[in-house]
Symmetry: D2
Subunit: 465 residues, 4 copies
């Protein structure tokens, strides 16, 4: 039995075409949302006296059973019923008989699948907000733990100026705040019901779309029914959100891969988040970080996929739009997985304080400050930059750091540099002098942490489901 | 003279490498923003007593002259000065001598280029909001003008149900409202100054980043200096905004191409927005619409480009990020052009009322409503759907529309269908019955138009600069 | 038991990280290739006297059993064994005991997974070549069947000049020939074994990579072991192949959607490849064509995903590269499905000859030829183009085709046009005059078909598996 | 005067639309190809007696002058002539009068622009092959110079096994060989003339497309005229080629950035390919490498752009396809620039032999070989892997390399390990044992170099123009 087939399409579908067009094997996860949408719809139809109360009760009971069968795993998708909607309706028909047919009154699969996706994405939003908050908590915890660690801050992958490691972690927290804000704004925009649009024009029945929206906990209703069924902005925008968030996570992952290399040696990723090599016994591979970096490509590709699919489609609904689901589900699962595993990796990270301290003592990240001292003594910045550059080159050739510079030599080649400055150019002194609210002085970073804690307290909605 | 070169890099750059790394030929448009940033910076430095008032005045006067030379076109970019920042500084040096060197105090090119881009994008936001508003105005004007036109609404590019053409235009207005909202939220988020971050860690000078932000008219300051110089979210998010907006515009463009074909014949694109063929005298090519559809690919590709470039970059600044500009500038110009030309094309569109009326009279878009009448008579929707499908197949074979169906034949094959219904299945009646607030009944569409007018009045900030 | 874990990673992996890094749930399809690779490897090791013949025989017997268990569905993937390679080895260990450990001699998972993918892709190449050939056969069959149908050829979606429908089908055959050639060249390039590269540097054992390649039926061996394990060109290039092929198929799909609309009405997609609407009884939706068009986005996105993932990865192997599989497998399955369903849709297409004939009689696609006649009479092309354009505009206003033009009127407004020409401007005459080998004259199209048949006969390797 | 306008489009184009649709500001570089195409076309027309010899000579003389004006920079693009083709024709008209109109006989802008692009891309192919050869030469030169340097080979950015630095360079040469082969195959496929297809159907004139192809030096003619004008495979395939090539170059760039960091310190990028910091005197920024890495994103995005633009376009020509040019030109220029600058950067690279030697002496990249020795003594690989892993962990804790292991301690914890092995585990010994043809033993790498030199000698076509 194939209830979706019109008599106009009498010959029956080619088997490969039936597989090709069926979505039930990937939209199965929408079943509880589909049932919820149908219950809201039939409740409203009864309230509007479009269907009888008996019909409503019978259908709701049947739908609840379908949902239970799905939850318990006893219901399995049937290809001949093509998609999750027809599977629900087909099973309902088996359970309650022809009365199930009433459910299709004043509704089309076009608004039905759209409302299912909106409902699903609302749950996704809550889940991912929760995951993001945990990721931010992990970053702030690291910032708190690592307050006493000064690392070389890098630009162009070259050591540039000393910064607090905590300050570095908080940069990722800054990105995550934007990600959270974007996610919330997206959620608010997507919190909108298309149900009632029918195929595209509304329906001739006296339905009440605002009522179904309210029953479903959606905050509003689309203003235009053609838009309601043709819109996939809420999915494209979600994928764009995910792509940008993954760019952030891939940058963090890149740094963890770098920093856990023997050459940097700044951190040790816990065994719980590393794997060994099947052939090289000495290896500790930062798989979790690498995969996180790699998955950025996957998510960016999925965004491109949907944008390309939607480009140039005439209104209102086209079957091309069925291709939205696999990409979105894949990205939801990916973001869920990434944001589950990364906080744990961060929390269990061991920071190699000794190695970092030795490293920071040997480099020339104090050069800018030395130039600044010359400027304060009256030299122009350009001249100071030039002089310090020359001194660095010479010290590098000598294999010495600033602190080890020979005083006599220094007097000779750079008399403008006061030798006593050299002892002041410690990483601790350098960071302490950077006192802008956003800068790396410990007092400022502590304020950033406090602000982050306050923010978290305000946004924390408890653990993810 | 190459002031940006450190003495550490003494040998001089290879010529092809100098061209390769120079950005001045494409970042030249940033000059007024760079000058504005420098004026704010030197003003703040003087207020903080880091530079003298004399220095400040001299530098501001020089910078104003550089800007005037740029505006009048007498200033030309010099390769040996690499980027717009060095060109400004180099020219300033020519104008006021060594005093210009002071300008570099407590600032790095990393925070300088970032603030330039933020300032530029704020102007872009205002421009594009203004363009979007004009596009929305054109859609609403069309909705007002075309209120009496009923077209077949399409799903799967098959005529589905009659809708008001105005209703169709307003679907695009719904997309544009979301685009506008996204653009405003993006603008608010990007309205933030990185100036003061220095290379990445802040500066040892007692600068006041909030003051420079205020002088520049930016609403806030980054909370973290490492984030401030490594962040390109405001550009990635802008490109994602543009990509989604272009998906909308490409859908409209596709429909204009379709509708202006001989086969549809619904609209005639004005000569002002069409071209002829060099070889086929009968042709009228919808170039503007086609190019708009095609440019969606360009914009989507630019988004992909920046996401890929940023993916996996370690903090803080890397030269890869210099690749942000050409793509963003290209998309800004593209969006500006598209949103300038599309409203004109819409406003000058001729709607072929006669052709549409003939078309709507011959199709079967009333089929759903006929089925609904059967349902109201007590048949289940599934049965009604089946019966009407059979009738449509037969009428199609006979080459007749519903209104032309033979009454006796109808009584025989489908006695449940009351013959008097047939006359009621006019497009006018069908649309009038769809009374949900988002649906296509003229009364509802008129309300949608009124709401759109109110919205426009509230958001209208006057014409673009 | 987790054999892949090094003792260096003693604490055990976090559960979410274990799921995150495991690939066995998606690389399971590689099992027969993994077994084949291992059999070739152990065979060579025995030949080189690195392992004993007894060991070899025991291992081969065990591997054959693992493959049989996989084929019969009794083997199930185990998460704790992480990937397909460890699952094979783990099961082998259960079957034959510690002797299985020998299999890992002189091999690493890096060259093992690479050879598995190469072997898999060789089978993919054969499958997709076979599918492509069937698609080309379907196009040629259509070209043969539709030789008597003249359609308006379109540019800018505007009717331009009459062409044979067969000629149009053969344009898609031209694209498919390039797709086939690209696929074959890719296959030849990818037909290359990385086995023997070990982790990246080769192995200290006296292995014979050329021998394993020969045993596996691969045509050559990588020239450089670092390249061998870090290369994913054969996957990126495959995805690029698929993306371009999908652009072609999406163009065909777009035309089938257009042509099966009521407005065009050129073709009727068979019921076997259409679906009805759940709500609109009159609808026949070209789902298969729409999904094909939509899947182009999916495939393009997957290409972008892998390119982005691979971008900027240092040599040799990084775990990011594990992300290659899901995208490639998805595209393989998609191409297989698309190229299975499209030929059937083409073969069962009904061409509406009557509708097309009426359409072609009413348009102005003869305009170019009329201009050409004027040129042959001595007018410049530009003047002729101008004159004919004027005549078309007038006839359009009169609602007449060329054949219906009033002779007296014509003499008056365009005396240069000889009235007797009008009767010659039939579609049949127009196509017959286009006699370049690539042009649309029936004699030429027949030659194109004959050439296509010859090509097919030369390339046809029998039906797909 | 706007000759391209049909009289049907009388009102004149809107100014913004004229700018929007004009291509002359970016297709200007095609002028010499357009002139060449026109000369071939008029030559053939005269040979076929379609135009007179006088006309031909006049037109050719005029076209030569247009080309000279373009070359000397005295010709400037005019917006009112829209594209390069009309600019050539318009200027020709100014030079020789109405006779220029003859040039349009039996040709359309559709086949004209297509042949221009094919001709241009043939030159691009020669240029880029030449650039690729120089890049390969630079890699082979490095391989020759660095034969005595052993580096840690990396997997997962963790030191894995020692390899020759030359071996590493040759891995990039392997990628470049595939890039070269792909480029040549693409060139052969694209070496094909669409001229003669007219608008899409051929022309009623007795033209000889094979003759124009021969005059233009193109190897063949499209088999199908509809395909000829609608095909952009040769551009999509080129962009896919470039994207894959840029993935390779971005990987090399990533390694140069890493290796030139203080932490690695393996190489020093020449001052000729580095820049200093405007603020940090100690910095040497690997800009050229960073930009190369970043430009991979740009090129990948351009590929995405064209694929998306072409997706779903109906045949034959649509204006969307005009969007092909800017992306392709940008990628051509990018590839030209990247492949010009990278060889110089490679050739001037200083390898820090001392630093690398110290590094390789301290790591555990000999671990696999130690395990292999145990295996040769009869232990299973898995047991050996386990034992060596334990020893590495302990030595790491003791801060010792293999060579420094205490013999007594070793006898106690790992009696199976023969102490005398330790001295044999030198990088030199380890690489020398890897004797597969693709492996890292110096004798093999020398053979790889010799083969590469032979290959270069066979393919070297002299310096780029």
């Amino acid at each position: 039995m194939d209830m979706a087939r019109s008599p106009r399409l009498a010959k029956g579908m080619d088997s490969s075409a039936a597989h090709y067009t069926a979505s039930v094997f990937f939209d199965w996860r929408l079943l509880p949302y589909d049932v919820a949408g149908s219950i809201a719809h039939i409740t409203m139809l009864a309230e509007q006296h479009i269907v009888s109360a008996e019909n409503r009760d019978q259908i709701i009971a049947g739908l609840e059973q379908v949902r239970q069968e799905w939850e318990s795993g006893t219901l399995t998708p049937r290809l001949e019923w093509e998609d999750v909607h027809m599977n629900v309706e087909g099973r309902l028909g088996e359970l309650i008989g022809p009365a199930s047919g009433v459910l299709h009154t004043a509704r089309s699969r076009n608004d039905q699948v759209a409302v299912d996706m909106h409902l699903y994405m609302m749950d996704v939003a809550e889940l991912l907000k929760s995951r993001l908050l945990d990721y931010m908590r992990a970053l702030v915890e690291r910032a708190e733990v690592d307050m006493d660690v000064i690392i070389p801050g890098y630009t162009h992958m070259q050591a540039a100026q000393p910064i607090l490691l905590s300050h570095h972690w908080l940069a990722y927290r800054g990105m995550a705040v934007r990600d959270f804000e974007r996610l919330e704004q997206w959620q608010t925009r997507a919190n909108c019901s298309p149900l009632g649009a029918g195929a595209l024009s509304g329906t001739p029945y006296p339905t009440d779309p605002a009522r179904t929206a309210a029953l479903l906990g959606l905050a509003g209703v689309y203003e235009n029914s053609v838009d309601a069924v043709s819109d996939r902005d809420f999915l494209m925008e979600f994928l764009a959100w995910a792509a940008i968030a993954m760019v952030h996570l891939s940058r963090l992952a890149e740094e963890l891969v770098l920093w856990s290399s023997v050459e940097f040696g700044y951190v040790r990723i816990s065994d719980a988040y590393s794997t060994g090599s099947s052939i090289m016994p000495q290896k500790r591979n930062p798989d979790v970080a690498e995969l996180t970096r790699g998955k950025a490509g996957r998510v960016i590709g999925r965004l491109q996929g949907l944008l390309t699919t939607m480009k140039g489609l005439p209104l209102a609904y086209d079957s091309d739009m069925q291709e939205d689901k696999e990409g979105v589900f894949d990205v939801v699962d990916t973001m869920d997985a990434v944001l589950t595993v990364v906080p744990g990796m961060l929390r269990t990270l061991e920071v190699n304080r000794g190695r970092i301290a030795r490293r920071i003592g040997q480099d020339y990240t104090a050069a800018t400050d030395l130039a600044d001292l010359l400027v304060q003594d009256g030299m122009t910045f350009r001249e100071a930059h030039h002089l310090v550059g020359m001194v660095v080159t010479e010290l590098e050739n000598q294999g010495k750091g600033f602190a080890e510079a020979d005083v006599e030599w220094l007097k000779q080649v750079a008399p403008a540099i006061r030798p006593e400055w050299m002892a002041l150019l410690t990483p601790e002194n350098l960071v302490a002098k950077r006192l802008q609210p956003m800068a790396t002085a410990p007092v400022r970073v502590a304020e950033q942490i406090a602000a982050a804690r306050t923010w978290l307290a305000e946004h924390d909605g408890g653990p993810p489901r």
